[in-house]
């Protein structure tokens, strides 16, 4: 499903974020990406969504070389991905419902069907009662869950999460992990980055550990 072949990523200015990274994630697999901040976790996720492009090597998603995709093809790649951002990237000029509706509007979904899907996604993350609230009025954990709802409303086959439990206390973090597990159970491929390995203690999952841009 996701395959890295000897990927190098160097930012302008000389910072070598990823060095010779190769791995493969099968369909339906749930994988954690660990490492200290600055280890290259965010860069790796950005390469999958073609937000950044590799300097060397290839990144394949669904057998498509995303590093070589044309600008015009990017939207269609990203519609297959659900991305949960470290900084949420919610829009504060509209309520929770409309934030989750946005991906469906972008895909030109049927109006009635899209409203059903938004409610289902909000229900899944336990925010159905807050659909009219502005994201500003939500707590950090709720904002994170809203971001998850927006990522899954399109029913993507791959879910990428960048530090989804980063600033949350343990209880909230467990809640979110539980939500991810439920996606794993229905066959979604997940790649979740975290610097906090304590949330992984009771789970038997595959771990990719990055250290200074290299896979351990």
């Amino acid at each position: 499903m996701i395959r890295f072949n000897q990927v190098h990523k160097r930012y302008p200015g000389g910072y070598h974020a990823l060095k010779n990274v190769s791995f493969q994630i099968a369909k339906g697999e749930m994988t954690f990406l660990t490492g200290h901040s600055g280890a290259g976790k965010s860069t790796l996720l950005k390469l999958i969504a073609a937000i950044e492009r590799p300097n060397l090597g290839s990144v394949l998603v669904n057998n498509q070389n995303v590093g070589a995709l044309k600008e015009r093809a990017l939207p269609y790649l990203r519609r297959n991905l659900g991305i949960i951002f470290q900084d949420h990237k919610l829009l504060f000029d509209r309520n929770a419902f409309d934030n989750v509706l946005l991906p469906l509007q972008i895909c030109g979904f049927d109006y009635r069907e899209s409203h059903k899907r938004v409610r289902a996604a909000l229900d899944k993350v336990g925010l159905l009662k807050r659909e009219k609230s502005n994201p500003v009025a939500l707590s950090g954990g709720e904002q994170q869950r809203l971001c998850i709802a927006r990522a899954i409303v399109n029913r993507p086959s791959i879910l990428l999460a960048d530090e989804p439990t980063g600033n949350l206390d343990a209880e909230y973090a467990q809640e979110i992990m539980a939500i991810f597990k439920s996606f794993h159970q229905v066959g979604v491929t997940l790649l979740i980055s975290t610097h906090d390995t304590s949330v992984l203690q009771d789970t038997k999952v595959r771990i990719l550990a990055l250290r200074q841009g290299e896979l351990q």
Partner: protein, 298 residues
């Protein structure tokens, strides 16, 4: 379909979010458009008047005083065979004198004359497509035997026509310049909007929005602003003409004639609105093409 509608409603909501700024923009566009369009209306009116006054051009042929009846007949036959002439009207000198007495109120003066000072005359109506060769035709007719004078009656109308052509060119230049101004206004408005919606554009790109999807509300906004500016221009022109007509009313009473400025015709009004809408769209398109590519998620 309903998403598109929601997007459009979003655009309108955004417009009304800053009503004063939006209104000022529309006012500026309206004034910019009303200048050339208003001049165009005045020109149209002037042209209507000219057409009414001049009608079809004609050439008056005055015969010499010693022309006899068979000279008149000979000339008439010649004129009838002339290729560039549509028809000819003979003005009897006695008849002309009678007309002069009645129409000018100079009856006493004319009655005091001991002989008729007027010559026999023909009024020549050239064929419409000969209009350009009128001067040449006049020259030829002047050389015919027993013709004293050939006079082109509507020469002044052609001079005025040339003046109107000049006026139309002024309108064209003004319209081109102010169209550019309109495009620039929209360009800048959209640029500011894109900057304030940077976050939204970035997020939309990250979750799979095509450039077309992101572009659409801005183009719609530009077209909408242009259209409203066009409507504003229409009202400015209509109101100005109402005020002018009010003044003209007093003037035409003094001249004992009827003179009214007509407003834009339906076709011209529609052209104005569509054109301003198109210019708004174009300004927005240029702005979006220039600024949207600068916003890339990272």
């Amino acid at each position: 379909m309903r998403h598109a509608l929601a997007q459009h409603i979003g655009v309108l909501r955004r417009m009304f979010a800053a009503p004063l700024a939006g209104f000022l923009n529309i006012l500026v566009i309206g004034i910019a458009l009303s200048l050339p369009a208003g001049m165009y209306v005045l020109l149209q009116n002037a042209q209507g008047q000219v057409a009414q006054l001049s009608g079809t051009p004609q050439i008056s042929l005055f015969m010499s005083m010693d022309a006899k009846a068979d000279d008149v007949d000979r000339l008439r036959k010649k004129l009838d065979q002339y290729p560039g002439i549509e028809r000819v009207e003979f003005v009897d000198r006695a008849q002309a004198l009678e007309q002069l007495k009645q129409s000018t109120g100079l009856g006493d003066v004319v009655g005091g004359l001991n002989q008729n000072p007027l010559p026999e005359a023909f009024i020549v109506y050239p064929k419409p497509d000969e209009a350009k060769a009128l001067e040449a035709l006049r020259g030829e007719l002047a050389k015919l035997p027993k013709v004293e004078l050939a006079q082109l009656d509507s020469a002044w109308a052609y001079k005025l026509e040339a003046l109107l052509k000049f006026g139309r060119m002024v309108v064209l230049i003004l319209a081109s310049l102010l169209s550019l101004a309109l495009i620039a206004i929209t360009f800048n408005t959209i640029r500011l909007q894109i900057l304030t919606q940077r976050d939204e554009i970035e997020v939309a790109k990250l979750i799979g929005a095509t450039n077309g999807f992101i572009r659409r509300p801005f183009l719609y906004f530009g077209a909408m602003q242009g259209l409203l500016g066009g409507i504003m221009a229409y009202f400015i022109i209509t109101l100005s003409l109402m005020l002018l007509n009010h003044q003209l009313d007093a003037l035409s009473q003094l001249y004992a004639s009827q003179f009214v400025l007509n407003s834009l015709s339906l076709g011209d009004s529609l052209t104005l609105l569509l054109f301003s809408m198109y210019l708004g769209w174009l300004g927005a398109w240029l702005s979006v093409a220039r600024h949207l590519s600068q916003i890339e998620p990272h």
